[in-house]
């Protein structure tokens, strides 16, 4: 491992930058400032980040915001509130990016998720392979609503 120490030191700084993005995605993140904080030139930072995570910091931040938006939309948060809660400043850019990434609009995604959640709570056996259900004694006649 001795030859890895300098490399691990670089990785430690890149990982800290990534965790900073993870914890502050909703704010106005300045990627230049993150590169400075990590003691990298912007170019070097982007290159190392992409090598580690397969995305540039900006691509990663955008993808993270969309993933967080999907989670919020599953909780009945409105599309507008979701947009601003995950750090987008424009509803149209959020909706456009969401559709390019997921193939559907935020409102349709929310509707689909709501219907799926309803189906799971109404008939969970639809979502469980039969062998697992039988082994656990979860039969068709069971009243799942008792814990809802």
């Amino acid at each position: 491992m001795a030859e890895e120490f300098p490399k691990i030191y670089l990785y430690h700084r890149i990982v800290q930058a990534k965790l900073f993005i993870d914890n502050n995605f909703a704010g106005n993140i300045n990627l230049d400032a993150i590169a400075d904080e990590a003691f990298f030139s912007k170019f070097h930072f982007i290159r190392l980040f992409k090598m580690a995570y397969g995305k540039t910091p900006h691509q990663y931040l955008t993808a993270l915001r969309i993933e967080k938006a999907k989670l919020l939309l599953q909780t009945n948060t409105s599309v507008t509130d979701t947009c601003f809660a995950v750090g987008f400043e424009s509803l149209s850019s959020f909706a456009g990016l969401f559709k390019r990434t997921t193939g559907t609009t935020p409102s349709l995604y929310q509707q689909q998720q709501k219907e799926r959640q309803h189906a799971i709570s109404k008939n969970p056996l639809q979502f469980i392979p039969n062998c697992f259900a039988e082994n656990n004694g979860w039969t068709e006649n069971r009243n799942f609503k008792e814990v809802l």
Binding site: S121, P124, F127, F132, N135, N136, F144
Partner: protein
């Protein structure tokens, strides 16, 4: 393969480990009756592979004695349930360590590849490799 099970000691704690630490996505989380829950997660790049986080409970798949034995075996790290691959092992190792994941082996170049070993919150252990060694 589209379903595989990992036996866990506590589903709430396993949810936190696999979702908040490993970054897996919840596929299905369904209440199945008092104290019972069907909880599956997917690695972020494998949405078709549902990993069922199965609670070890007596009365269903296990009788009371077997459940106790199973809990003890899992807790003492008997079972190695699989191999995960990541884009960059050193980066993932640093990140998971920062999130409190316990590694039993730091990244090491072996004759078969670059590998680390980690444990989940129950005691199940996994190999972590790199897709393409750099």
């Amino acid at each position: 393969m589209n379903h595989v099970s990992i036996f866990v000691l506590n589903q709430d704690s396993a949810y936190d480990f696999y979702v908040n630490k490993l970054g897996f996505k919840v596929h299905t989380d369904a209440a199945m009756g008092p104290g019972m829950r069907w909880l599956t997660v997917c690695p972020p790049e494998q949405p078709g592979l549902e990993i069922s986080l199965m609670a070890i409970a007596d009365g269903m798949m296990f009788n009371k004695e077997s459940a106790q034995q199973m809990r003890e075996l899992v807790a003492k790290g008997t079972f190695g349930f699989g191999v995960f691959e990541c884009n960059d092992l050193l980066a993932t190792y640093e990140e998971l360590k920062a999130k409190g994941v316990e590694f039993t082996k730091a990244p090491k170049k072996e004759f078969y590849g670059f590998e680390a070993l980690f444990k989940d919150d129950s005691g199940n252990w996994f190999s972590l490799g790199e897709k393409e060694q750099k």
